[in-house]
Symmetry: C3
Subunit: 293 residues, 3 copies
């Protein structure tokens, strides 16, 4: 009876060890799968000396005369600081079909964005619109990465349609000075692609019109600045919290420990068995000796 | 003397192994606790076909006539594109007591927000206010999730008070067209709850009033649009960088290695002991042989 | 021949085990380096009872009369709610040289920011400017942390120059009411330093000027509010997804397992060798017996 009891104990230890191995393996593998499905973004805030020039894109919901960079109305107090006349601005004009309203052809102006924060490079745009039949005078715009690759592209219209479909558009208003600060972030996406996002923060300043009423009622003015908010790009990389290697190594450790536990159980079981055998042999020997004597 | 030296060596090896085990265990357990207290957000950017309708909530700091959707002033150039007349808008009126100023009763208008980005669904609200005694004409608003559950709720006032307490409120201005883009994010919080956040980005466009001065001085107009910025929801899940399983598995590996190291030290110690015994036995035997001869 | 074959097999097992050890070690160490170079931010959203007072800093691109807190134009409907007269506001005036335009001396006003969200503490600033030669009337501002340490500093000018160099500046506009909501976040940086960031969200409301034209054309008014958006600080800590300890523990597990595998291979190789020896001994014995008989 005691022998059967011991064997049951030994077997149950074995079963428990196998169960522990199964539970641990299951938990660690499900941890691994969970962590593989939920990678984490490691965000680096990198200083840049010079940005790649972004493109800035405008389309006229209204028709307007574009006067660019070299002209502005009356008296402009940033004049002396920004030294506008001595700078150049690159732009191109493109027309394409709106992806959201297929029967609408858009005439767009695409401007090369600023590249340097440290030199406080700002793109200043000044539009003038003659119209007195509307309540709102707006120019829509969006920002897209890589002006340079856009500029040498053969089908600029198709590229703009593509951007227009996905990139959020914003409105610029006549009668307000919009000072737009660009913020750039780059992200590794789950599908392996890389995405460049632009965020904008802007300050709005009211325009005080001091022209005579007959002009100010028919000619509306836009004042738009673009510059970088700071010299920091936010780059985020995907990181997995657990890797198959570490899970594999962990499982090695667990299995070995259980194997070792099993060995110890086996050894002690055998020792007990041997002790019994010895004891029974000794008993038998003693009995035989007694019978002999 | 050499024997004592050897024993000391052996004991010190043992002590070192125990110390290593203690240090490793402490470090790994403190890593685990640190990682358990600092879970990390795994952010997924998921495309949605249709959003759940959010609620948009307005309260009048001023009294005003509300004209909704089917009426707007004069000439509105978005008319043709947005096809306003053919759409329906769901809303409800609620009055409740302000949680921040207990002696103030608010009359609020709650509107069902847009759901579809791909169809460019926009909620357009047009308010008219007759008043010429103020310097600022504003409507406050906030956005909250789940219009549908709000709409079937029995005590809408209590729900609004609850939102009003925690959700940031913003101001809409007369004389400006506010085009508000909604951005939604869902977060798993540390306490196990789920939080839906709304961010707004807006474009401000100045309103050019071309009504006769006696009207434009007393009747003020609000133009408000709500739409989704894009079809992407940011969902973030809490992830632990380390789990008890992996720490346990790692400790198994370390302990086993130390155990193995101890065994090797023990074995070599015993071998040295045996060698000595043999050598001393051999010496004794040689001495006895010499004495015999 | 069979013996050589067996030895080759045993050696190749040995080589394979060593190769596995090398590959696993390389992978895990490169995982470790990758994770050490890409720490992850653990973001906590902590409720605060009271904020440390931030500093708010204004500089006049224009000259203007500053009228602070106790005076405002005409009729102001927030009057009763905010109880402006009974509150105090701390400020200091500093002049320093602009870091971006070295020949420009700035006269700045630095104001102690709000600290309590729950009491809806708001800083209200009212500026008045007499000038009719400009198109835009703006006040630039930025927000910096720790008013208190700034206030007791000996060289406030140097501190402001330092902030001015790195902190983004925004513009406040005359003729608009700017209601600015502060959002604070604290970040552990890679280099061990701690950075406090301020984000601002603002609501713009148009100012309806009902003063007589000869006054409203020459005297321009600024209305600026600062308050906290909510009582939540975003604190982010750097977390490493893998630590040297866990990699070390994992390697322990892997090496032990390979060691164990090597032992088993060795044991079985020896057993085969012994079996062969025994068999050959038995054969020899049988042959000798046959020769004897």
């Amino acid at each position: 009876f005691r022998k059967r009891c011991l064997r049951t104990l030994f077997n149950s230890v074995y079963v428990i060890l196998v169960l522990i191995a199964a539970v641990v393996t299951y938990s660690m593998v499900s941890d691994l799968i969970h962590s593989m499905n939920n990678p984490v973004h490691s965000v680096h805030f990198d200083k840049v000396v010079e940005y790649d020039a972004p493109g800035e894109y405008y389309y006229y919901i209204i028709s307007c005369n574009f006067m660019f960079y070299y002209y502005y109305y009356y008296f402009f107090f940033f004049y002396r600081q920004l030294d506008l006349e001595n700078r150049n601005c690159t732009f191109s004009e493109v027309s394409y079909i709106d992806p959201h309203y297929p029967n609408l052809t858009r005439d767009a102006l695409v401007v090369r964005g600023p590249t340097s924060f440290s030199k406080r490079e700002a793109i200043f745009l000044h539009f003038e619109l003659e119209d007195n039949t509307r309540d709102f005078f707006t120019v829509s715009y969006f920002v897209f990465p890589e002006w340079d690759s856009f500029n040498i592209s053969l089908d600029r219209g198709a590229e703009l349609v593509n951007y227009h479909r996905y990139v959020p558009t914003f409105a610029l208003s006549a009668g307000l000075r919009m000072w737009i600060k660009l913020i750039m972030s780059e992200k590794d996406m789950f599908d392996g692609s890389k995405v460049t996002d632009f965020n904008v923060e802007y300050s709005v300043v009211r325009f005080y019109d001091r022209r005579p009423p007959d002009v100010s009622n028919t000619t509306h003015l836009f004042f738009i600045f673009f510059e970088w908010k700071n010299d920091i790009i936010e780059r985020s990389y995907l990181i997995y919290t657990t890797t198959p290697w570490s899970i594999g190594a962990g499982l090695c450790g667990v299995f070995l420990t259980l194997h070792r536990g099993f060995q110890i159980a086996q050894t002690s079981y055998r020792r007990v068995q041997k002790d019994k055998q010895r004891r029974s042999i000794r008993k038998r020997t003693l009995r035989e000796l007694r019978q002999l004597s």
